[in-house]
């Protein structure tokens, strides 16, 4: 059948344009209507603005790092301007504070809340066909805790900075005179923000799924969010305890982490990574969810291996709790502990590999539209695969002795966190932007941003693998001249990456000014959020949506006359939603 025609025997069921003109952005006005809103969509949008601001700040700090490292003795912070700004600080001190704040801001203020709190807040209830999350007030308080945590970070920055590295390793953090207490208080508060979001999503997904949406008819983004929420709720309290103990050690010398008072600094590392390794999966699991949606929708093909992808999310969430020791292979743990952690670490690679294979298989024989979100999703698979595979060199003990705490590690986790999470976050923002604001952006602009981000990112971080294997330690403000060419390549890459991100921001802002009005379903997606208008009305759905298969694309057709996707319903026996079929109707076609 040709594109654009609705075959005979099919009935058009088209949500079309909204029947009422009010949507969640226009239904009430004024700053207070936003500040005290309980609407998950508005909270999601406020989070989006908040985390983007943190990303901008963290990104500028990253550019500072790269510019300083353009020459072996450092350039940027040797400049007189910085000596004038901070007369009592050596260039090395400024560098140390900049890389610390880059890490802390990116981890605590940006990556952890980015996908769950910004996109997740907007999407979880809509994908469930619900009106809101289970606890709207908890949701708003989670946002204000985020703001509170951010304020503490800014205070730490303005007081005397922070120079411990984002990992706060003792006894450095208990003895330095920088603002450790302000920063850890900030991270403590942000932890509660994260717990509130996770708790809310667990309850929402458990109790508010509509009739007919069984666990295995949930969109995979919800599986990923659910797995993430489990980690947020179970792991974050440990971070809170650790940070409180750190503050107590610093102020009262209780003798737990500082050897001067008979404490053990390695205990701190165990406590810290018991949270912070699962936290790595808080950062990447939601990205997996986004990619599963993007690849399937833009290939207009059922996701391949739904159950394997869903189970692998849960497997990752559980395994993430038992591999923290791989951050400490060189710390002097006993050989047997070290070897057990190495073995456990290898098991995590299996569920991640399963996802990659399934995404690529989903594209096979699909009908692929190379839209901006799809191009970001393809970039994600490429970059994340590199990030995942280089983890093998680090999980293997003999090679980790050489690579630990070098640029190899820096490159590895940036391939996962930036090439993975940030690229999928951008893909997700471009994918759901028409839904969130009701405007289409310039496709050409979006594609240019994706290309620049991809090229710039690889140019920044590929050389860092070689820097690391050649022995360049991380967190160095100056370095041996032999490393200069690779560092310079990396700096050029960072500038291109920066331009790419600004292009993305520009394209999205321009869409608000002169973007075309977005239809309800611009990509031909089958999940419930494409059933409501763009932007959604205050209560999300005019009438309760009919729950179908989230990856059934056979019912969605492109109508050339209307110039948009429409939903058609075949005259076939509809499977009653109360007793969903185990095997979807189109399986094995």
């Amino acid at each position: 059948m040709s594109a654009g025609s609705v075959p005979s025997g099919y009935e058009v069921k088209d949500p079309g344009y909204p029947t009422s003109q009010e949507n969640y952005l226009t239904n009430s006005k004024g700053i207070l209507s936003w500040a005290f809103t309980l609407d998950h969509k508005r909270i999601g949008m406020m989070y989006l603005i908040g985390v983007s601001t943190a990303f901008l700040l963290g990104g500028l700090l990253a550019l500072g790092i790269r510019l300083h490292l353009f020459a072996p003795d450092g350039i940027l912070f040797n400049n007189g301007l910085f000596q004038w700004l901070a007369p009592d600080k050596a260039p090395n001190d400024i560098y140390n504070q900049v890389f610390t704040l880059h890490g802390a801001i990116m981890v605590f203020l940006f990556i952890i809340p980015s996908i769950p709190a910004a996109l997740g807040n907007f999407l979880v209830p809509v994908m469930l066909g619900a009106k809101d999350v289970a606890f709207p007030r908890l949701n708003l308080s989670s946002f204000y805790l985020w703001v509170g945590g951010a304020v503490f970070f800014v205070m730490a920055l303005l007081a005397s900075g922070l120079d411990t590295g984002w990992t706060f390793y003792t006894p450095y953090s208990t003895t330095t005179d920088s603002s450790v207490i302000l920063a850890t208080t900030g991270a403590f508060i942000l932890g509660f923000s994260s717990i509130f979001t996770g708790l809310n999503f667990i309850v929402t997904i458990n109790t508010m799924r509509p009739p007919g949406m069984t666990w295995f008819r949930m969109p995979l983004f919800l599986w990923a969010t659910y797995s993430t929420s489990i980690i947020q709720v179970l792991a974050t309290p440990v971070l809170g305890i650790t940070l409180l103990l750190l503050i107590a050690e610093r102020t009262m010398h209780i003798g737990i982490f500082d050897p001067e008072y008979n404490g053990d600094p390695v205990t701190f590392q165990h406590f810290f990574w018991f949270y912070s390794h699962p936290a790595v999966y808080i950062m990447i699991l939601p990205a997996f969810g986004i990619i599963s949606e993007l690849i399937s929708v833009h290939s207009h093909k059922r996701i391949f291996g739904y159950r394997f992808i869903a189970y692998s999310s849960i497997a990752i969430a559980l395994l993430s709790f038992i591999v923290w020791g791989h951050h400490m292979f060189t710390s002097g743990m006993s050989p047997i502990t070290t070897i057990i952690f190495s073995a456990l670490t290898f098991t995590v690679s299996v569920p991640s590999a399963i996802k990659v294979f399934n995404w690529v298989a989903t594209m096979f024989k699909g009908s692929i539209s190379l839209t901006t979100p799809m191009v970001y999703a393809i970039a994600f698979i490429f970059l994340f695969t590199i990030g995942g595979l280089t983890g093998l060199h680090l999980g293997t003990l003999a090679t980790d002795m050489h690579l630990h705490d070098t640029y190899f590690v820096v490159a590895h986790f940036h391939y996962v966190m930036v090439g993975g999470t940030v690229v999928s976050f951008l893909g997700g923002v471009f994918h759901w932007w028409p839904k969130m604001v009701g405007k289409m952006y310039s496709e050409a602009g979006g594609l240019i941003s994706a290309a620049l981000v991809f090229i710039g990112f690889n140019l920044t971080f590929l050389p860092q693998f070689i820097l690391g294997s050649r022995g360049m330690p991380r967190r160095y403000a100056t370095y041996d001249p032999e490393f200069a060419p690779l560092h310079q390549m990396s700096t050029y890459g960072a500038l291109i990456l920066g331009v790419g991100l600004f292009v993305a921001l520009f394209v999205l802002i321009m869409s608000l000014i002169n973007g075309k009005k977005a239809p309800a379903n611009p990509w031909g997606g089958a999940t419930l959020e494409w059933n409501c208008t763009s932007p959604p009305p205050f209560y999300n759905f005019e009438r309760a949506p009919v729950v179908g298969d989230p990856y059934e694309f056979g019912d969605i057709r492109w109508d050339t006359e209307l110039d948009r996707y429409v939903k058609v319903e075949p005259e076939r026996e509809v499977v009653p939603s109360e007793t969903p079929a185990e095997t979807p109707a189109h399986a094995g076609e």
Binding site: M1, A3, G4, A90, N92, G165, Y169, P171, Y172, T175, P259, E260, P265, V266, H300, K301, F304, G305, Y306, T330, S331, G332, P335, V350, I354, F357, V360, A361, M363, K365, G366, I368, L370, I381, T385, L392, G395, T396, L397, A398, T399, D400, M401, H402, T406, S469, R470, G471, P473, Y476, A477, Y479, D480, G524, Y551, F553, R557, W558, A587, E589
Partner: protein, 393 residues
Amino acid sequence: MMSLLGDYTSSKLSVFPKSASSFSGESDWVFHFISIVCVVFFVPIAVALFGFAWKYRKAKGEPADSQTDHNTTLELVWSIGPSFLLVVMFYFGARGYLDMRSIPEGAYNVGVDAYKWGWGMNYGNGVIHPELHVVAGEPTKLTMTSKDVIHSLYIPAFRVKKDIVPGRFNYIWFKAMEPSEKVMSDEELKQLAAKDKEENLSWNYDERQCTPDGYTFYDLYCAEYCGTNHSEMQTVVVVHETQEELDAWIKQYSSRGPDESPAAYGAKLYERRGCKSCHSIDGTRMVGPSYQGSFGTMREIVGGDPVKVDENYIRESILNPKAKVAIQQGVAYQPVMPSYKGQLSDDDIYSLIEFIKSLGDASAAEEASESAADEAAETAAAEDADAEPVSVE
């Protein structure tokens, strides 16, 4: 295969630094094995990813050719299949690691004191030097501890690394395989040393590519972030061909020579024992106060009346650095200096004081006042006590 890769890794284009210990061959072989497995997986994934994206791109509205949504056999194969390779990686990694943890009996022992920001390699008999000197082909064991925060000893050419944690000993061992070469004659070295002294510079390892003794070296880095001068916390490893050569090298540092003036020996200690990483001798403000012209001046301190920089103040500041923390132009220094109690003999401390005096002595001008005269008498007495080269250890 191993030897072939071994040849490759010694080339300049290699992704590794020179391979110079008994571990490097194994470690590099495992690295290349993993890398080959990664490429074998990555290339088909990337080809399929870009190939499918190109081949199956279609106009809007064209349905997909297939809606196949699972194939259990295929999925089980790609879930379980690669696991066998993971087991192989784990096995080789753990095997290499156990070698690194099994310290052979009778290994040559060197003590390592790590501190902000330098290294003290302890060869026994009071010889402490920042450079690590070992013998080729013989196992060397390092017994390491830190005076302040966590550091990490990393020798890229040997492929070894171990954190150095305050309050406990951590051990590492290796067998260096490639001896250093003597690349500069003693005549040239003397000229360079004289030139450095004239221009008030310290030895530049990177530029000259050899140690002040004329040997080629391997880099030794601190790999665990430890504050301001973390990136300058570097030293070198020199591999001697024989134990006799190493013993001869150690001997020349065992104590102050009979004809050596205390100030000249103090200058060596200043270079060798880490003073110079925080204290300048040209007036520049670094992590600690500069030595230049400081002797005999009055110094503001945290939480007390200004004190005079005299022999007792210097001695106290070396043995108990946090007792009187200096303030310069209203900004207090960070109390980060580790104590040298038990690390420097009385003669060493005396030599350092004489060295500081040689950089400018302001006390002569103040001798008119009575109190200064009293202090001078006191310090003279202290000097007498210190002059005896009795070890405090």
